[in-house]
């Protein structure tokens, strides 16, 4: 079942260290395709760490893996992802005359998908 949540993209230590090794390498791809989710939300959606989910907006969609964060750290209905190619697939280009696309706090649809073989 699909749910609407708020996605925040940002920087992390692992993203920072892995981009030095190379943005085309597996570690960077892994870091930027992992989305953090409130563990209560994960339980409700029958998700566990590492499960694949689809995030989509009116712009596009991307497949990522989820990772739980304690409710005290990440409020219900909120997701966090490190900037990278997956998050850019969801990003609108209307800068409202500023040059800045709305890169944080945008609504995404979250869907559980079947794990691959």
């Amino acid at each position: 079942m699909a749910e609407t949540m708020i996605l925040i993209a940002g920087r992390t230590s692992k993203q920072g260290t892995s981009l030095n090794a190379g943005k085309l390498k597996d570690e960077y791809r892994d870091v930027t395709s992992t989305v953090e989710m409130n563990t209560d939300d994960m339980s409700r959606l029958s998700l566990k760490d590492g499960d694949p989910i689809r995030l989509s907006t009116s712009i596009g969609e991307t497949m990522v893996r989820c990772k739980g964060r304690k409710p005290v750290d990440l409020p219900a209905g909120m997701l966090f992802i490190a900037y990278g190619p997956p998050s850019s697939q969801l990003l609108g280009s209307d800068t409202a005359g500023t040059g800045m696309p709305p890169s944080k706090h945008y609504e995404v649809t979250v869907e559980k998908v079947a794990a691959g073989p």
């Binding site: 920072g16 943005k23 500023t98």
Partner: protein, 446 residues
């Protein structure tokens, strides 16, 4: 480890805007790598360890190895024949290279924009409207007894900001370090930075402006509608407590991140925070500073400002600089399909720009200068592998507080510097422009 070792004292890390200049690097000159980086944070250690000499062609044209000379010629040809060429990036290279890029843009009557437009560009807009009560990080270290971090996560993005400049470090008038300071964090979620705070205010997403405006009113002694508590998620008592602390501190600092500039409201959010700092100077000394990202993004702002009069998003198509965010900023020029060629310097918009912008980059000739392979180099018509600033190349970078710092490189690279490549492109453009400048001028007059 070989016996051919060199130690570089007081080297500078250019990974983030802290630009820490107290590195002690141990360099293996035979293996062309840095084996130890004393004083570096986790990001700095990765920066120094991973920038080794890779086995990549110095230049590629359409994905095939080419000489630097041929790649320079092709890059210059692309730039002078384009009708709306854009130049973007610049934040991870030296001021000396940035200056060459600006010269090219001027010659080809192009558009120049930096990563600032997708970082603290809205803050730059707010500076123009509100102004900036500013400082150096040295003043923060020595004087600040109240620090408010708003919409940022320096613990992960700028790890030494806390220890070297702002929180735990001892200063001239802060002899006991963190014990003499009060640390406040305002954010929509708890981050690895949060534990350092004495006070954490969790604001609802997208409600920073409302919280800042309420604080401004309370600082001025006005009553605020109690509904602001529901709107922002922050209790009125916590707001009042913060107001009292801000008015009664000796030296207050508002550090802010992209939690303000990347959300709805953008420059209004940044402007509200800058205005709050200005208001507080009625009561005490208060300053505000954006926590900047890439190593020399502040240099890009400074250099573009002193060269053109504007910090980013500058167009030369009429022969003089014009500034208009939304029109001349890169997300816009790419997403709308305006740009017909792109010169990307030390940046990777192919990885993190909106989908529409990336799709347009695939349709136009793109020239890239980067130290490593990226999504942007993969889509480039012409790609240069360049030497890493601060590790292989000397020059000047600006710390996030606008303080220029000279680099001390560790070892030589077989690849040319960004400055060398850009100077060669500039000279080639000058050669070619004799044929095309006249038609360009005629086009402008038509």
């Amino acid at each position: 480890m070989s016996e051919n070792i060199r130690v570089v004292e007081h080297a500078t890390c250019t990974f983030c805007g802290c630009v820490c200049d107290d590195m002690k690097l141990t360099v293996d000159l035979d293996k062309h790598c840095i084996t130890k980086a004393d004083n570096a944070c986790v990001l700095g250690k990765a920066w120094f360890a991973e920038h080794v000499i890779e086995d990549r062609p110095a230049a590629l044209i359409d994905g095939h190895p080419a000489s630097v000379e041929d790649a320079v010629a092709e890059a210059a040809r692309i730039l002078v024949t384009a009708r709306f060429p854009i130049t973007y990036g610049l934040s991870d290279t030296t001021c000396e290279a940035q200056r060459e890029a600006l010269a090219i843009v001027d010659l080809i009557r192009g558009t120049v924009d930096t990563t600032t437009s997708v970082c603290h560009g809205p803050t730059g807009i707010a500076f123009q409207g509100v102004g900036e009560s500013t400082m150096t990080l040295g003043e923060v270290k020595n004087r600040a007894d109240l620090l408010i971090f708003w919409g940022g996560n320096p613990g992960e993005a700028h790890p030494r900001l806390f220890a070297r400049y702002a929180v735990t470090t001892k200063g001239m008038f802060i002899p006991n370090g963190k014990k003499d300071r009060t640390i406040v964090m305002v954010d929509v979620r708890r981050t690895p930075s949060t534990p350092v705070a004495n006070i954490f205010l969790q604001v609802k997403p997208g409600r920073d402006f409302e919280l800042l405006w309420a604080l401004r009113a309370m600082v001025k002694g006005r009553k605020v509608n109690p509904d602001v508590e529901q709107v922002t998620g922050v209790p009125l008592a916590a707001m009042q407590d913060l107001v009292e602390r801000m008015k009664n501190c000796r030296y207050g600092v508002l550090f802010f991140g992209m939690g303000l500039t990347m959300t709805r409201g953008r420059h209004f959010n940044a402007g509200a925070l800058l205005a709050l700092a200005t208001d507080l100077n009625e009561f005490t000394h208060f300053v505000a500073k954006p926590v900047r990202g890439h190593g020399n993004v502040t240099g890009a702002d400074n250099l573009t400002s002193w060269t053109t009069g504007y910090p980013f998003g500058v167009n030369f198509s009429r022969g003089y600089p014009r500034f208009n965010p939304g029109e001349f900023t890169t997300v816009d020029t790419l997403s709308r399909g305006d740009a017909d060629a792109a010169l990307i310097i030390a940046s990777d918009p192919g990885s993190n720009f909106p989908k529409a912008a990336i799709e347009h980059m695939k349709r136009i000739p793109v020239i890239v200068l980067d130290t490593k392979a990226t999504e942007t180099t993969r889509l480039a018509r012409v790609a240069f592998t360049t030497a890493t600033y601060g590790i292989n190349v000397g020059g000047t970078v600006y710390r996030m507080d606008d303080v220029p710092i000279t680099l001390r490189p560790a070892f030589d690279s077989p690849y040319p510097s960004d400055q060398t490549v850009l100077t060669a492109i500039k000279n080639k453009v000058r050669e070619l422009i004799g044929d095309t400048r006249a038609s360009g001028a005629a086009r402008a007059a038509a």
